[in-house]
C-alpha cells in the first residue's frame, strides 16, 4: 500500500499483528528513508563535531536543522546566496527543519504570541522582532529542507489554562493555512502540520480532524516532551495515531529516550527527533542496550572493553574488523570533558545506537516479532520486571503487549 504527494511517497511495508507498529518507506527529494526512524539533530548545520561523511556512515539519511538558529547564523541572505542548507553543509541526504516556534518558547522567555505571530526580543541587539508563519516558511524555503514544519502556537502541555490551550490549538490550525498559502516550493519541500491541544484528548481529536482535512504530506504530534507525565504523553500519542490516516508518516516531536521510542513505535508513530543522544554524549554518557553508562566514572578508567559489547559502530566493532577504531572505555574516560574527540566518539556511538535500534525494530515489525523485540529490549535495560516503568507497561497494555506477564 502506498500513497504519494508531489514530493513524498509513503509506502507501508508491514504492520505488527499485535501492536499498532508499522514499517514503511518514505521517499523524499533526497532519497528514501526507512521508518520507523530516529533523526539526529544538527542544530546549527553541524552534528556536534561529526563530519557529514561520518554521519552518512552511521546510515543516517534524514537529519534535522533548526530554522531559528540558521535564521540567526548564517542568516537567510547567506542561505540564498549559497543555495540552501544541503549545499551549505555538504549534506546530500534529507533535511527536516522545525518552524523556529519551539525555540521562541524554550530559549526566549520574553516571547509573546499574538494572532500575527511570535513577538520576541532579538538575541543580537534586543530589538523587538516578529516571527510570522509567512516568515518561518520563507526561511525554510531558503533553507530548502525536504520536510518543513508549520509555525505553531506552542504551550507548555502542563498549562492549566484550558481556554488558552484551546486558543493555541485553533490558532495553530489558522497558522497552518497561512503556512500553506505562503509555501513557495510544494514541489520539492513537504510541509507537515503539527497537532496541538495539550493533554486534553478531546482537543487533540478536534485538532486531528482539522489538520487531516488540510491534507499535508505528513503529520506531526507536537507540544509534548515538555515535562508532562509519561502516562499523559502516551495517552495523547495513542489517541492521535488512532485518528491519523494510515498512509501518511507520523512524527512525534522531541522524543529520544530509547524506552520512549519503543513505546511510541508500538503506539503507531514513525518519526522522532531529540538532541538528548548527542547532548548526553558530550557529558560523557554512552547509550547502550544495557542502559546509559557514564564513562566519566572511575570504574571505567581501566576498562579496556569496547563502549558497548556487540555494537557495530566504528568505535565498538572488533579491532580486527574493517573500519574499526578500537576505542576502549578507558580511552573515552581518559579524554571525556578534556578533549573534544571523546565527545565526537560518544556522539558517533550514540547516533549509531539510536539509528540501529530503529533498524532492528523495523526488522522485527517486518518479521512480525515486534512484541518479543520490545520484551527483550526492556529486559536488557532493567534488572527485573518490577523495575519496569509503569507508564511503559500501561501504554503497551493498550496495544496488546504485557511486559509483566509473558
Amino acid at each position: 500500500m502506498s500513497a504519494s504527494s508531489v514530493a513524498l511517497t509513503f509506502e507501508l511495508v508491514a504492520k505488527c499483528s499485535t501492536t499498532r507498529a508499522r514499517a514503511s518507506t518514505m521517499t523524499l527529494p533526497h532519497g528514501p528513508v526507512n521508518l520507523p526512524l530516529f533523526m539526529p539533530v544538527a542544530t546549527q548545520a553541524s552534528l556536534k563535531g561529526l563530519t557529514p561523511e561520518q554521519l552518512e556512515n552511521t546510515g543516517c539519511r534524514l537529519c534535522l536543522n533548526n530554522t531559528y538558529h540558521l535564521g540567526l547564523k548564517p542568516g537567510q541572505e547567506v542561505l540564498d546566496a549559497v543555495g540552501g542548507a544541503h549545499k551549505f553543509q555538504g549534506w546530500n541526504h534529507n533535511i527536516l527543519t522545525d518552524s523556529g516556534g519551539f525555540q521562541m518558547v524554550s530559549l526566549l522567555k520574553l516571547a509573546t504570541v499574538t494572532e500575527e505571530g511570535v513577538r520576541f526580543l532579538s538575541p543580537h541587539d534586543g530589538t523587538p522582532m516578529l516571527l510570522t508563519p509567512e516568515h518561518s516558511i520563507s526561511l525554510q524555503n531558503s533553507i530548502g529542507s525536504d520536510i518543513i514544519m508549520q509555525l505553531d502556537d506552542v504551550l507548555v502541555t502542563t498549562s492549566p489554562d484550558k481556554e488558552r490551550m484551546r486558543e493555541a490549538m485553533l490558532r495553530s490550525v489558522r497558522w497552518l493555512d497561512r503556512c500553506i498559502a505562503a509555501h513557495k516550493n510544494p514541489d520539492r519541500q513537504n510541509l507537515f502540520c503539527i497537532i496541538q491541544g495539550g493533554l486534553d484528548l478531546e482537543m487533540r481529536r478536534e485538532c486531528c480532524a482539522e489538520m487531516v482535512a488540510r491534507d499535508t504530506p505528513g503529520i506531526a504530534i507536537g507540544g509534548l516532551s515538555g515535562g508532562e507525565a509519561k502516562d499523559d504523553f502516551c495517552r495523547v500519542v495513542g489517541a492521535c495515531t488512532q485518528l491519523l490516516p494510515e498512509l501518511k508518516p507520523r512524527y512525534v516531536m522531541g522524543i529520544g529516550y530509547p524506552e520512549d521510542l519503543m513505546v511510541c513505535v508500538a503506539l503507531g508513530a514513525d518519526m522522532f527527533d531529540c538532541v538528548w543522544p548527542t547532548r548526553t554524549a558530550r557529558f560523557g554518557n554512552a547509550i547502550t542496550k544495557l542502559g546509559v553508562l557514564n564513562l566519566k566514572r572511575e570504574m571505567y578508567a581501566a576498562d579496556f572493553g569496547p563502549i558497548e559489547d556487540g555494537c557495530g559502530c566504528p568505535c565498538c566493532r572488533p579491532v580486527e574488523e574493517e573500519g574499526s577504531m578500537g576505542i576502549t572505555r578507558a580511552f573515552v574516560h581518559h579524554n571525556a570533558a578534556k578533549e573534544t574527540v571523546a565527545a565526537h566518539l560518544l556522539t558517533l556511538h550514540n547516533v549509531w545506537y539510536q539509528l540501529n535500534l530503529m533498524r532492528e525494530a523495523r526488522e522485527a515489525i517486518i518479521e512480525d516479532r515486534f512484541p518479543a523485540f520490545i520484551r527483550t529490549f526492556f529486559a536488557q535495560i532493567y534488572p527485573d520486571r518490577q523495575s519496569y516503568p509503569s507508564w511503559a507497561v500501561d501504554a503497551l497494555r493498550t496495544v496488546g503487549v504485557d511486559l509483566i506477564e509473558t
Binding site: F88, N335, T340
Partner: protein, 514 residues
Amino acid sequence: MTNDSQEKPTAMVFEVLKAAIIDGSAARLGRMALAGRRSVDTPNYLAVASRGVVPHMTPDNVGKYLHSGGVYMALEEVIERPQQYSKRQTPIYDTPTSHGRRPLHSFTAMPSDLMTVLSARRLPAVPSPMGNSNASISIFTSTGYQVLTTKEYQNAVETLRPDIAIPLADLTYGPITPTSKRALRMAERTDEWLKNWFADEDASADGPQQRDVAVFAPVLPVSYSIQWEYLERLSEELSTRIAGLAVYNPDVLLDLLSDYANLATLPRLSVSAVTTPHHILRQISLGFDAFVLPFINLVSDAGIAMTFTFPPSQTTPTLLPLGVDLSSPACKTSLAPLSPNCTCYACTAHHAAYVHHLLGAREMLGWTLLQTHNHTVVAAFFASVRAALAQGEEAFEGAAHQFALRYEPEFPAGTGERPRARGYQFKGEAGGEVKPKLNKPAWGKLDGEGGGLGLTRVRAKKGVAPAVAVAAAAVVVAGELVESDAEGGARLETPPVSDGVADVDAQELNSLPR
C-alpha cells in the same frame, strides 16, 4: 655487555637517500622505516597529540586524512593521579596487548600505520616550579605537578612501547636562560641519565625486547661547549645504541656533526617547536630530517586555513599570506575551497562559507575541518620539499629562497573565537600572571540585573592574538644560546626573516593569551 647488546638497534632503519654536496646546505633526503608502520620519507613532520589524540580528529579521520610521518605524545598527559584515587595503578600501564598492537597504540586507538614518538613532556611544556632533581623531573599532569623518576619513565617506555622514545633530559622550559652553572648541570644529568638508561636496559631481562623501541637521544638547548662531554659519550659509547637525535636547539647541530661524524648517519628530529614554514626550511637546510610541529594545532584553533605552497606560486608581486582567517566576513558566502587547488576532505566536500559559519557558531566541526586541511597543507609542503631535494640542492635552495621572499613572515592573527581551552595545559604557569580570557563569556544577564529573565547571548568580540604565540614561547625551551664558544657564536637560531617571533622578548611572549 654481550656482543648481542652491542648490535645496532633494529627497531628502526634510517637511510640517507641523497645528501647535499653544495656549500651552505646540509639538506638531505632520507627514509625512516619501522616494522609494521608506513615508512616515512624525510624531511617530514610529526603531528602533536594532546592526551593521545590529534586535537579535534577522531582516530578514523586521523587514519584517513592525516598524512604526517607519525604522532608525538607526552607521557605527562596520560599518567595523572587524581587525588581521590592516588593509590590506583595508572590505567594506561594496564593496556592489554591485543592483536600484536603496542600498548601505546592500543590505548590511544592510533591507526597502526602511523608511528608514535613518546616524550616525557608536552611541546611546549608548562614550566614547573619544583624543578628537577638528580633522578627525576617535574611534570605537569591534568591533576597537578607530579614527580617522574628516570626509572618510572624508563619503565613506562618499556610497558607502553612507543615506536620511538626520547629519554629524559634535564630541561628548564622557563623563559629565563639557565645560568652556565645550571646549564652544566643539565648536561651532566642528561649524560648520567642516558648512560643509566642503557645500563639498565642491559641489566633488564627484557632488554632485547625493549630494543624494538628506537631511542632518540636528546641534544640539549645549551651551547655545544657546555654539553660536549655528553655529546662525546653519545658518539663514542652510545652511537650504536641510539637510533636518532632529538635536538632542542637546531644551532647545536652543526658543531655536533663537524666533530662527531659517526652521528651523521642518525636521523635528526627537531623538537625546537618551530612556528612557521620559514623556520622549517631553514632547519631543513641545516640538515634536519623530521620535525615535531605543535603550531599546526594552534593555527587551526585560531581559525586560520593555511594557504602556502612550496615552491611559492609565481604570480603575485606582493607578499603572500601564509594562511587566511576564515572568521573574516569575506568568507561569508564563499563557495571556494579553503585554499585554491587543495584536494583535502575539507576542501573537496566543503567550502569556506561553511567553515566560516561553524567558527562563528562555535561548532566543533569547524576546527575538525581546519585540522584536516592544515595537516594536509603541511604534508604537501614536505612532499614538495622532498621533490625539490630530489632534483638537487640548488633546486631546493632556490625554491626556499623564493619562499622566504614571497611569503609573509608569520601566520595572520585569527579574529575568531577559539575552542574552549581544553585543559590544564593552558592554565597559568607557575609564578606567572593569570592569562586574560580569550573568548567573551557566552551568556550574561540582560541589562545587568536580569532577575533571571533575560539570559541573553553576549555578542562575542574578537580576541585577537597571534595564532602561534604559545608555540613561539616554546622556542625558548631553556633560553637561547648565550654563546662564548667562538665557533658556535655566529650560528644562533634566528628566523630567516626579520622581525619574526624570535625577536620578541620571551617574557612578553609568555604573557600573551593563547
